[in-house]
């Protein structure tokens, strides 16, 4: 599974949405399924997928798929 595929899977599973809906433009609370509850599941999904530990600032700052990539990228993960 590529890093991008891991990301899409983590989002789709946490938010219970179709993989096609996971685009860089998707923003926190822009759809009903990405609420404060599913956000907690998303964080743990991403930590497990990439074997990383996200800080509280990361959790707060992860307001879109694009920003999630940036945050995960700080941990040495490349999406290119």
């Amino acid at each position: 599974m590529t890093e991008q595929e891991k990301l899409v899977h983590a989002f789709a599973d946490a938010l219970m949405i179709e993989k096609e809906q996971v685009t860089d433009e998707l923003k926190y609370q822009s759809i009903p399924n990405w609420d404060s509850i599913s956000h907690m599941i998303l964080i743990t999904n991403l930590e497990d997928a990439y074997k990383i530990s996200l800080s509280t600032d990361d959790v707060i700052g992860m307001s879109s798929v694009a920003i999630a990539k940036d945050i995960i990228g700080k941990h040495g993960i490349s999406f290119s």
Partner: protein, 247 residues
Amino acid sequence: MGDTKPIALITGASRGLGKAIATELASKGYNLVMVARNEALLHELAGELSVLFETNTWVFSTDLLQPDAAAGIFSFLQENNVVIDILVNNAGIMQNATLMTTTDAMIDDQLAINLRTVLTMSRSAVKHFVRKRKGCIINMSSIVGVNGGIGQAVYSATKSALVGLTHTLSKELGPLGIRVNAIAPGYMMTDMTAQYDEVHNEKMRMATSLRKLGSAEDVGKLAAFLCSDDAAFITGQVIGVDGGLLI
């Protein structure tokens, strides 16, 4: 460690209520992460519980006054591949003084241990629980957190804050299968109340409906119940263990 017992993390586990909770949970088949300042006491208790109940324990000594204490505890858990099922926010300090004679240090210390640590520990523990869609947090409030107590402005404020926190977290985390409850002990015969004399103890005994003072074990038994699946439909509650104490 290859067993499948649930794991409970208890702060302030070396003595008093924390020790009683640890002992009761161990007797019910839990493995334990025990946190306190006094490492020697923790190891002593760990040895006893291992002999009595074959309890596996992880001991972590830290000063919860330090802002990064919770981070240190959860880094330790990660390094040891320990995922907890239960968090008992038990550690607390009580420094009695009327508000006019309360120093800034007394305010800071009680806020740090009785409230800030509960917040930071719970925040970290939630990640463990979210993965399982199940978890249990017990916050140690107090009867004075509900009713107030002369000379306990800061202490009662912190314990009252835990009532609000318990209600809020139960709502935030309930959809993820995480239960959050608080215990509000009355006047218990523990290290924390050892500062009082017999006259005071007798006065408090007579103020209870049951005409008796509570023990740490009374709290331990309630904590074990709240952790168990028998309490699977109980969340957001503040349960008194006070013998009907009126204050």
